[in-house]
């Protein structure tokens, strides 16, 4: 009986050592590990957070479960910065890859399965596996204030999304999105924009956002 208890405890400890974070149910790091962690901010476990010392999170931001904040400091580059503003809601299964700079403004809503990246693997050498090749020079991603990003959106490196933009489900954002614009599609194109003179949303000319 007692031997069973001890061996089960030992097995559990070994599992924790083997699996690391996964053994603790992918617990996000404590707030003091972050560069800044606002009051009322919450990262719901299970979540995977790398290099929290490079992550700034504003007040009352909620990041829901199974998010992967993949911040990758590299020896030959300045430290990456992932800045998430205040009062954001970032939903489940998000992956944010940050090797340079990713900035998300205030009061954004980011839906499930969104992928935001400021870099990608290079594939110059056809002989090497791509995963063994270095990351591309990161190009900063900036997402403005009060942006709504729909389900399963992909935001590519170097993109700036203006304030109050609205991004439809399943879009792939490869070019900058001006403020107050509705974009959808793959590749994303503007479908509506806000006309200040008429104080109304009008149909955008059928062209890719520039």
């Amino acid at each position: 009986m007692r031997g069973d208890l001890i061996s089960s405890l030992r097995a559990r400890r070994n599992a924790r050592r083997l699996w690391g974070d996964a053994g603790r149910g992918l617990m996000p790091p404590p707030p003091r590990a972050f560069a800044s962690f606002g009051t009322g901010a919450l990262i719901v476990p299970p979540s995977r957070v790398q290099a929290p010392e490079c992550i700034w999170i504003g007040d009352n931001t909620q990041i829901n479960e199974l998010t992967w904040l993949c911040v990758v400091p590299q020896p030959d580059r300045p430290a990456p910065r992932l800045v998430i503003g205040a009062r954001n809601t970032i939903n489940r299964f998000i992956k944010i890859v940050c090797a340079g700079e990713v900035v998300i403004g205030d009061e954004c809503g980011i839906s499930d399965h969104t992928y935001i990246a400021d870099t990608h693997y290079r594939f110059d050498d056809p002989e090497l596996p791509i995963m063994a090749q270095p990351l591309a020079e990161p190009r900063p991603v900036k997402i403005g204030h009060r942006v709504f990003i729909g389900y399963r959106t992909v935001v590519r490196p170097g993109v700036t999304i203006g304030d109050n933009a609205y991004i439809g489900a399943g879009s792939v954002i490869d070019a900058d999105v001006p403020p107050r614009t509705v974009v959808v599609g793959d590749p994303a194109r503007a479908v509506r924009r806000y006309d200040d003179a008429r104080k109304a949303w009008v149909k955008a000319e059928d062209q890719r956002p520039t």
Partner: protein, 216 residues
């Protein structure tokens, strides 16, 4: 874009000792978080649902208002589903109906304020979005959570249809009997029975294989 400048990187900090007070505090907070997640994603009792047959929902799952969820028999709903079917309009009682023999995969999101209906033997794969509404954006200066929802349009997936991995079904769409929505498509218009649609926006690839349906 204003005031988005990040502060300078933090100075080097000494790690606290392994048995320090902070570590105890961290562990307590981690336990609290885990408890929060467990409670938020537990399956409500079957009496709480609008109807619940001989079916199973695999935890963890988020079910915001189970009284609007009607689940038939032989249904399997896999883990990490989010059934966000809630009442937002006084004159609309929302309804999410899952017919007999339907299977819903993992990581799906059902977001509705009106009717979302899955008929019998529907196959919903992983990471699928079924939405009959979206957030308003009428006010160009307000964040999404200060604006209401757009009035819902019914989403109907008819008998024997399949929605493959990562497909998105937008408001007002009817997916016909025995239709197949290919992986990753974004469906904004009706899909005729026995057609295969793919792409963003979804277009018809193949139509008319009704002879396959003769046995039903």
């Amino acid at each position: 874009m204003r005031d988005l400048e990040a502060p300078a990187p933090p100075p080097f900090r000494l790690r606290s000792s392994a048995f320090g007070l902070e570590r105890i505090r961290d562990r307590r907070q981690a336990r609290r978080l885990a408890r929060f997640f467990k409670r938020a994603t537990a399956i409500p009792p079957r009496q709480a649902f609008g109807a619940f047959g001989a079916s199973v929902i695999v935890p963890p799952a988020r079910i915001d208002a189970p009284r609007f969820v009607h689940v038939g028999d032989r249904v399997v709903i896999h883990e990490y589903i989010w059934i966000s079917v809630v009442q937002k309009f006084d004159d609309i009682v929302p309804r999410f109906v899952v017919g007999d023999g339907t299977r819903i995969g993992r990581f799906c999101q059902i977001s509705g304020v009106g009717e979302i209906i899955l008929e019998e033997d529907v196959g919903i794969s992983d990471e699928v979005l079924l939405a009959d509404t979206s957030h308003h954006y009428e006010d160009p200066d307000a964040p999404w959570f200060r604006q209401g929802m757009i009035r819902p349009k019914r989403v109907l997936i008819e008998r024997g249809a399949v929605v493959a991995l990562g497909a998105m079904i937008l408001p007002g769409v009817t997916v016909g009997k025995g239709a197949y929505v290919v992986e990753g498509s974004v469906v904004g218009t009706d899909v005729a029975p026995h057609t295969v649609v793919a792409g963003n926006p979804a277009r018809v690839l193949t139509r008319g294989f009704a002879h396959l349906d003769a046995g039903r």
